[in-house]
């Protein structure tokens, strides 16, 4: 079946370096993706989203890149800080019955920022 959010499970970076977290998806019809950050013991927090009519979107210290040709997206975090340590998920919404938007999550990438 279709899947999204095929992540590498862990990533360690030095404080101040840039982080790149990758995500692959299989459904070529996917048109919207969301990145979430989940700190230990907390619910996921929205970071940034991107639609398929874009190949890049920037936020505060974060950039998401979408490559529809190879069905890959990445989250780049500039000047990684200790507070960035968390699990990062990419998710794809799909519309269920009514107007319910359901998210399909992968297993996530644990980002560890080293001092």
């Amino acid at each position: 079946g279709e899947s999204v959010g095929l992540h590498l499970p862990t990533l360690s970076v030095q404080e101040g370096d840039n982080s790149i977290i990758n995500c692959a998806y299989s459904n070529s019809a996917s048109d919207y993706f969301i990145w979430y950050k989940q700190e230990s013991g907390k619910g996921p927090q929205f970071i940034i989203d991107i639609r398929s009519n874009m190949d890049k979107r920037q936020g505060q210290r974060v950039t998401v890149l979408l490559n529809k040709t190879v069905k890959h997206l990445s989250l780049q975090i500039a000047a990684t800080q200790p507070g960035d340590s968390a699990v990062y998920f990419c998710a794809e919404p799909r519309v269920g019955s009514g107007s319910a938007r359901q998210l399909t999550f992968g297993s996530g990438t644990q980002l560890t920022v080293l001092p």
Binding site: G41, G43, F89, S97, R101, L103
Partner: protein, 111 residues
């Protein structure tokens, strides 16, 4: 902006006991509401969603049920808990734009 409340924050229950987790939402009306479960080190699995009062859709067959007695209240229940019901339970809602927000979660341990 919306705020999602979940309680309790943590819960330890024996196998075979009943369960009731509550989620309430503030700052929005007619939200779509969701229950997810997250096993340790894993992604989120959608359990139930609701587009309105009394309307519940189940994504996976399981030992749990959900109810929506009020517009901004979503309840997850079980009559008899199993060991496999342990996990981190997250309530979420979707705003008018379609962005999904999550509550703080309930950590359930079944012993």
């Amino acid at each position: 902006s919306q705020t999602i409340h979940q309680w309790p924050a943590t819960l330890v229950q024996p196998v075979g006991s009943p369960l009731s987790l509550e989620c309430t939402v503030e700052g929005t009306s007619n939200p779509n509401l969701y229950w997810y479960r997250q096993a340790a080190g894993r992604g989120l699995q959608l359990l139930f969603y609701s587009v309105g009062i009394g309307q519940i859709s189940s994504e996976v067959p399981q030992n749990l049920s959900a109810s929506r007695p009020q517009d901004r209240q979503f309840i997850l229940s079980s009559k008899k808990l199993l060991l496999s019901d342990s996990g981190f339970y997250l309530c979420a809602c979707t705003d008018r734009v379609g962005e999904q927000f999550f509550g703080p979660g309930t950590r359930l341990t079944v012993l």
